[in-house]
């Protein structure tokens, strides 16, 4: 895949003029992009080492325009894919050659908010943090808070089943979606789920969430809202030794405390943040800091904080600090949430790995990550959702240095394997997309994958809706029979 002029020109001319004309009729000429320069923006998501210009980008305004566009593309055998803000970190929104991108950003309205029933009706192009901001006067919020929430849209969150620091207590996106309106990969429109939370029959909403645009395009969603907590306390705990930070994490959870968030930033991560404009005042002479937030009612919160302190103190921290006010708290969080951006000044490219292990194995897994970094001679930092056992090693590189890039990709693969060896998995929240596709077979058997393919075929029978993502295609061309080698 490349972004040279050749490819760009080719992409633009790939769409038959008649199809282009029809698309312009459906969404309006101003809402179809074909200029190669315009298309460049849509040639990748946040992992920029996979790039491919689409044939066109279309901005539908609603469900019916989306459905009409999908039907037209199906009739003409043209692959297509939905796209939110392109902050994805697995190449989910990467177009295949000749694809049309259905960009959801014009569907950006909050249609209604119902505080009594704690739900909101939204379009998929609403930015995550805009929703939460709009709900503030009702003392409610949308709990999933990916670090990208100021840019990522709800459709993208739903498609990736996004997590975030506070998902430790509140659960990932899937726990907050009640109903969906979707244009399926076959061009039909379906209403899935129930706003009242318990639709009869198979859980089609549960299946759609996290399906990375391979089943269809979400054009409207009914989301569950969560009350804002009455009180919050945020602790910053620094440890000279990494194992002790890791042990503190397991002991807090095993001690029956479920903090709202429990994040870890290691030494290199701290350095990146502190040298950037997001400097949060993290201690710099430690191996790692934990950012622990507890929330709930004022009553009892202080005692919980004391308990966390006691657990931490037994593990020899060098610093324990409590945010004294909202401003301090916001600063501590800004450092964490902008840690990815902070890497930008250290190297032009950064691969964020996303793997999960059972929590008690965090210290061991981190050791392994450092060993791998040393083996491949790489700069690695770690900023991650420790309470969930969800690691994000950040591997820095410069794409122009081919040898270094290859080492980074190999090391990323080694991290995945180390994780699997410890009972972990290949993605905790960033999804599979194209980037993790080669690892799917390390986790799933051909039979496991066949179940997923069969399910996909119900919604997306011709596999023209975001093809090449999430599920590897069968190794042999013939369709597989189940049970052939079941013993």
């Amino acid at each position: 895949m490349s972004t040279d002029k050749e490819t760009r020109k080719k992409s633009a001319s790939e769409l038959p003029p008649a199809v282009l004309g029809e698309l312009r009729k459906i969404v309006g000429a101003e809402n179809v992009l074909t200029d190669p320069v315009d298309l460049l923006v849509y040639s990748c998501d946040a992992i920029t080492y996979h790039q491919q210009s689409p044939a066109a980008v279309v901005f539908p305004a609603d469900t019916s325009q989306t459905a009409a566009a999908v039907r037209l593309l199906l009739e003409n055998d043209i692959p297509f894919l939905p796209r939110g803000s392109g902050t994805g970190l697995s190449g989910g929104a990467l177009p295949l050659p000749g694809s049309v991108v259905l960009q959801t950003s014009h569907m950006n309205r909050i249609l209604s908010a119902d505080p009594e029933n704690r739900m909101a009706e939204v379009q998929p192009g609403v930015i995550n943090s805009f929703l939460t901001k709009a709900l503030e006067p009702m003392k409610l919020h949308f709990a999933p808070d990916p670090s990208s929430q100021v840019a990522a849209v709800l459709g993208g969150n739903i498609a990736e089943n996004a997590g975030g620091p506070h998902c430790l207590k509140y659960g990932v996106t899937g726990n907050h979606v009640l109903g969906l309106e979707v244009v399926l990969g076959d061009g039909t429109v379906a209403g899935l789920g129930s706003p009242w939370g318990d639709a009869a029959g198979l859980d089609l909403v549960g299946l759609f969430v996290g399906s990375e645009g391979t089943l269809g395009i979400c054009t409207q969603a009914t989301l569950k809202l969560t009350p804002l907590p009455q009180a919050v306390q945020t602790l910053l705990i620094g440890f000279p030794r990494l194992e002790e930070a890791g042990r503190t994490v397991s002991q807090i959870i095993a001690g029956g405390i479920i903090p709202a968030a429990l994040e870890m930033i290691d030494h290199n991560g701290i350095e990146a943040v502190e040298q950037s404009v997001y400097a949060a005042g993290y201690p710099r002479d430690v191996a790692a800091v934990l950012l622990v937030e507890i929330d709930g009612f004022q009553a009892g919160l202080e005692e919980q904080a004391q308990r966390i302190r006691a657990i931490a103190e037994a593990n020899h921290p060098s610093v324990i600090r409590m945010a004294r006010n909202e401003e301090e708290r916001a600063r501590l969080w800004a450092g964490r949430k902008r840690s990815y951006g902070a890497q930008g000044q250290l190297a032009p490219d950064c691969l964020v790995q996303d793997v999960t292990v059972p929590r008690s194995l965090l210290p061991e897994m981190l050791e392994e990550v450092y060993r791998i970094a040393e083996e491949y001679d790489l700069h690695i930092s770690n900023c991650f959702h420790a309470g969930d056992g969800n690691l994000h090693p950040h591997l820095l590189f410069d794409r122009r240095d081919k040898a270094l890039t290859n080492r980074v990709l190999e090391a990323a693969g080694q991290i995945v394997k180390a994780c699997l060896a410890r009972g972990g998995t290949i993605s905790g929240e960033h999804g599979i997309g194209v980037d993790k596709l080669p690892y799917m077979r390390l986790v799933f058997s051909e039979e496991d994958l066949e179940v997923m393919r069969r399910l996909r075929s119900v919604f997306n029978p011709r596999n023209l809706c975001n093809p090449g993502k999430l599920i590897p295609e069968p190794e042999k061309c013939e369709s597989r029979q189940f049970g052939a080698d079941a013993a």
Binding site: G174, F297, P358, G428, V458, L470, Q481
Partner: protein, 436 residues
């Protein structure tokens, strides 16, 4: 076929009926490989298979179209591993919920669901119905605690989804999807479950009143204030009273609410309720401290299941809390018209109303009137995107009134999914949506 686990006496098995239908033959595989071979063989022959756990929810769903093989999972009842530090439990599908809770209690943890579950109810069966009880308000349904599942497909393929970690987006999220599928898409053999710490302290309060809307207001205010009850129900006093239900005045209603967690936070929330209910409560609120497995809440989770009479009719209405009063009015009007007494229980805050028409002393077997009322009610509910499911009912009624009420594009999709995963329709044929 000999297998470890609960011995199933021949008489017990031959007495099993599903909506009046007997089972052709019984199989009890000892492990997944044997189960896979068995399913592949049944699939080859086109024989229908009814997977069963503790047989507590066999009357769930539409009447089966056929029942050649009764598949007991009692031979696969082991706790595979318990890792309290990771709050992770791995069990075979035939393991009972009781056994799971016992195992976890030793580590001051539990699986945070409290469904109607007899001592024989298995985790596999409970996942198949996506079970829950009143603590759903805080902890959700069983699906919310599943991290991974092993499933043998109708064609005998041994598959898995999810894993052992709390956050996982590798492939479709099938662990959630399979919950509630009633053994229609595959047979579960093993689960990785996410456990929770046992609450340090719990306290329940009960408020008696004869005015439903007053109780509803209190229930709504509890939620609006951002309080976080573990459970909250409203029901006739007679439903909630264990010792002398007949002594409770007929018109008396009660709201029961439970808080669990940190003692200080529980106490503070109880005070909030006392304060907001004060002017409305009539008589004082009765607060009772509780331990886990409190009989009061256990009884609530059994609502509608206590009598094993096959002629009971239990409705599950999924509709906004604010619609409850209207629904009860409709039920009352029908009850008066038809001479069918009814009782009810509302999960306040979960948008869920259970309505029970208990078996009448002289049940005359005429269900047409009830069926046609249900049909009207379901149509009306649909206009509010609300649903009515027939949770328990005699076969005669289920033949007149389809249990699930799924229709339109979602039904088509579900039937296509069935075709993909169980092409010969051997698993629980007829029992699920669209009578398939």
């Amino acid at each position: 076929m000999s297998a470890p686990g609960t011995p199933q006496t021949q008489e017990a098995l031959s007495a099993v009926r599903i909506d009046g239908r007997t089972i052709g033959s019984w199989r009890q595989p000892a492990g997944e490989a044997e189960l896979a071979a068995l399913l592949a063989e049944a699939n080859g022959r086109g024989q229908s298979v009814i997977p069963m756990g503790g047989r507590s929810h066999l009357d769930w769903g539409n009447p089966p179209r056929s029942s050649d093989i009764g598949l007991s999972l009692a031979g696969m009842d082991q706790v595979v591993s318990c890792r309290p530090d990771d709050m992770l439990l791995t069990v075979q599908a035939g393991c009972t919920l009781h056994r799971i809770q016992e195992e976890l209690a030793a580590h001051r943890q539990f699986l945070p669901v409290d469904p109607e579950a007899g001592p024989e109810s298995t985790i596999g069966g409970l996942v198949a119905v996506n079970a829950y009880g009143p603590m759903r308000l805080q902890h959700g349904r069983l699906r919310d605690h599943i991290l991974g599942i092993r499933v043998v497909t109708a064609e005998g393929a041994r598959t898995k989804c999810g894993g052992q970690v709390v956050k996982n987006v590798s492939g479709y999220d099938l662990s959630k999807f399979y919950a509630g599928s009633l053994g229609w898409l595959g047979v579960f053999t093993e689960f990785h479950l996410k456990t929770a710490p046992l609450a340090e302290y719990a306290c329940s309060g009960r408020i008696r009143q004869s005015d439903f809307s007053a109780l509803q207001r209190i229930g709504q205010q509890i939620l609006d204030r951002g309080l976080a009850p573990r459970s909250q129900v409203i029901a006739p006093g007679r439903v909630l009273e264990a010792t002398d239900p007949a002594g409770v005045p007929e018109e008396a209603l009660e709201l029961a609410v439970q808080f669990a967690g940190h003692p200080e936070s529980v106490a503070w929330q109880c005070r909030q309720v006392s304060e907001l209910a004060g002017p409305l409560a009539g008589e004082a609120i009765r607060w009772v401290e509780e331990s886990a497995g409190d009989p009061f809440w256990q009884r609530i989770s059994r609502f509608g299941f206590d009598s094993r009479s096959p002629d009971d009719v239990l409705l599950k209405v999924i509709a906004p809390f604010s619609l409850t009063a209207d629904l009860l009015r409709e039920c009352r009007a029908f009850s008066e018209r038809s001479g069918r007494p009814f009782t009810w229980l509302c999960y306040a805050g979960c948008n869920l109303l259970w309505v029970l028409f208990p078996r009448r002393a002289a049940e005359d077997g005429s269900w047409a009137e009830l069926a046609s009322w249900l049909e009207t009610l379901r149509r009306r509910l649909r206009t509010r995107r609300a649903e009515l499911i027939l949770a328990r009912a005699p076969r005669e009624l289920k033949e007149l009134f389809e249990v699930w009420g799924v229709e339109g594009r979602p039904l088509e999709l579900m039937l296509q999914i069935k075709k993909q995963l169980d092409p010969k329709s051997i698993l629980n044929p007829g029992r699920y949506v669209g009578r398939q």
